[in-house]
Symmetry: C2
Subunit: 214 residues, 2 copies
DNA sequence: ACCTGAACACCGTTCAAGT
DNA sequence: ACCTGAACACCGTTCAAGT
């Protein structure tokens, strides 16, 4: 068939298909041949639209960053900086957890992905407007990202395996009473995220007050 | 040659060689064939010592967790819980940053890796001893892990590309003045980590005081 | 410009065969 | 028990050839 009169592929179509494939079967399922098959096309065709496979995965990750709500950082949004940061963190984490297989790609940093940059830009702008000196505003954006991506990636509960036999109390004297596992399940991650977020914001508020006072 | 009179390989030797290879050339450089070649052996030999490649990488990651200092959580160590948590966080992050290519593997959670579990156990035990209720102690361990691994993984600075041309001020109105890049360089990550860690501990102290008082 | 098949240099893993 | 070579079913990517 060679070249069709109307292109069979587009960057958007490739990204959407790849994204669905990652969500359904994990990162390992995305090979160029498999993805191409899903698109009804032969493997090398993808290279007309992306330089390589990593670029495709970057685009998939960026599509997720693009879903993160940033309206709380708008200049005319009423929320104070603390509330804005809180709401953003919750929205950011939810977007990541909706696509858990993609988190490792996202966690590599904003890179050249435009939505990741837009995100960093919005946080920075809002913090400066709230009175944080630029250097501090940069740190706030970075440290919030640490916590949020860390919480999505290193899901505490998921990290532990199901069967309790793996945890010999002789090796881990305290873990037995920790009722870490089936007991509470995913709630632990929710609770830890909320507890940590509150602690982080409480601590930042202390620093902000000290700054303003001087 | 078939079976040698004395084994050519051991789990330890494989892990050490794999670790060096990851550090020197990154995660992608570790293929079973390449690793075997580095060991002067043929590819399938590895399967006499590990079930599969992932198990090898898990062992590499666990070897790093094992390097994290945990002495601050000893029962007879003088440090209060806040100082212990702080010192542990610094030591943990340093261990991760010493092997940046391995962080994505580590960040998948403790899994069955014994050193990862020992770490979670030590934190939990020390927090309970310091007066945190068990459920809270679990959260503290988890949220600290979020922040620490997130900071090692999503290195803010490394995430941005070098050339400023990538950042059109029209797209990112605030980022221009952010002097994010070459200006400060890696210091940003250091500063953000320290700022975040202090905020986190300040916030936790508030919660701890509220708990004790009741 | 955009797709194809063929080809290259790889993969992870299984397995029978050797000692 | 522990290594080998051969084999299977894959990879990512390049490239000449087609329209």
């Amino acid at each position: 068939m060679a070249r069709p009169r109307k292109p069979l592929l587009s960057r958007q179509l490739i990204v959407e298909t790849a994204s669905a494939l990652v969500d359904a079967e994990g990162l390992d399922a995305v090979s160029t041949r498999r993805l191409a098959a899903e698109l009804g096309v032969s493997g090398p065709s993808l290279y007309n639209h992306f330089r390589n496979k990593d670029e495709i995965l970057d685009a998939v990750a960026d599509a997720i960053s693009a879903q993160v709500d940033l309206s709380m950082f708008d200049e005319d949004d009423g929320r104070d900086w603390r509330t804005a940061l809180h709401d953003w963190a919750v929205s950011y984490r939810a977007a990541l957890l909706a696509h858990p297989h993609t988190v490792p790609v996202l966690a590599r940093g904003p890179g050249r992905r435009p939505a990741g940059l837009r995100l960093a830009d919005a946080v920075f702008g809002a913090m400066v407007r709230a009175g944080w000196p630029p250097a501090q505003a940069t740190r706030v954006g970075a440290l919030m990202r640490y916590f949020i991506t860390g919480s999505a990636l290193g899901s505490f509960t998921a990290g532990f395996v199901g069967d309790a036999a793996a945890y010999d109390p002789a090796d881990y004297p305290h873990l037995g009473q920790a009722h870490l596992l089936a007991d509470r399940g995913e709630g632990i991650d929710e609770d830890a995220f909320e507890t940590g977020l509150r602690a982080l914001l409480d601590g930042l508020e202390l620093q902000h007050r000290a700054l303003i006072r001087s």
